[in-house]
Symmetry: C2
Subunit: 150 residues, 2 copies
DNA sequence: TACAAAAAAGCAACAAAGTTGCAAAAATCT
DNA sequence: AGATTTTTGCAACTTTGTTGCTTTTTTGTA
């Protein structure tokens, strides 16, 4: 007896990963935790840095893909080559994402935020175009940056 | 005399490149032409393929950057790693882009379109957030794909 | 038209981002 | 605790994007 401590599970069944039907591993725990500790969205690169050199790059890619598949995180498009990811709010699940909020990209601090209480507006599309999914990206100055300094 | 044919210039001054203050070169001509022949948006990759192996990859990157700077094309964000580009409509210029249209990404044919006569809607943002620029991305089925077949 | 100056293209080398197959390790199930 | 399934790490590779430098092309001017 004495040590063993498989992965440090609080109780057992109410693990958020378990609930989504995922096995609980160190990298998944850590990456999920990073998202939860974070106000803004994270890129693959951000995670690599924040996690330290503990996990392989490939593991991070695969974990992000798994989280996407299970409806735990969603991808936020970007010009430039830096897709970012953020936690889903609740109605998402395996193979099914449903987001109605706006994404805000601060041109000062460069962070990306989910504006959780915003709603994507109704759009008028030309005849023949059928919308399935809408992403609204707003670039500007975030709350933090517009109050802090200048 | 006989041949020389510097770059095949129709008349001289009314070249769209000249008008934007750019020198006229083979790659700029060709790439601009590709955009004009095209209904949808083009990625760097698309251009590489359509241009054949005539131009160096680096030249294409630099040409795209130049066109962006001069307000000739605009970048369309994307999840996944494939930023696309499309011609600007007119009010754009050096260091200044102003677009009010919606971008439509067809999940069937995978093409990206500028919906030129659409308008980005007014948004209600939380207090403290100041919008500078808005991108609306709609994923769905395009006109072509929704009439053609099925 | 010819020449000098300025700009762009091509090349090479590199950096960053993303993918795949496979063997070892860890998590789960019984 | 042991067998089974899943995930991880590693290596090798592809794709995408960047930078410095030299050669070539374009442009403006004589
Ligand atoms: Mn979001
Ligand atoms: Mn457009
Ligand atoms: Zn900010
Ligand atoms: Zn289509």
């Amino acid at each position: 007896m004495a040590d063993r401590k498989p992965i440090e599970s609080t109780s057992t069944a109410q693990d958020p990963l378990k609930q989504k039907g995922l096995s609980v591993t160190g990298s998944r725990r850590k990456i999920l935790q990073l998202f939860m500790q974070q106000k803004g969205a994270l890129s693959h690169r951000d995670i690599e840095k924040k996690a330290g050199a503990v996990f392989d790059r490939v593991t991070i890619y695969r974990t992000l893909q798994t989280f996407l598949d299970k409806g735990i995180i969603h991808a936020i498009p970007s010009a430039g080559n830096a897709v970012r990811y953020a936690l889903c709010q609740g109605q998402c699940g395996p193979g099914h994402h449903d987001h109605q909020h706006i994404h805000f990209i601060c041109s000062r601090c460069k962070h990306t935020f989910c504006l959780d209480h915003s709603v994507t507006p109704d759009l008028h599309l030309p005849k023949g175009y059928q919308a399935q999914d809408i992403d609204v990206l707003v670039k500007g100055v975030c709350q933090q940056c517009s109050t802090t300094s200048k």
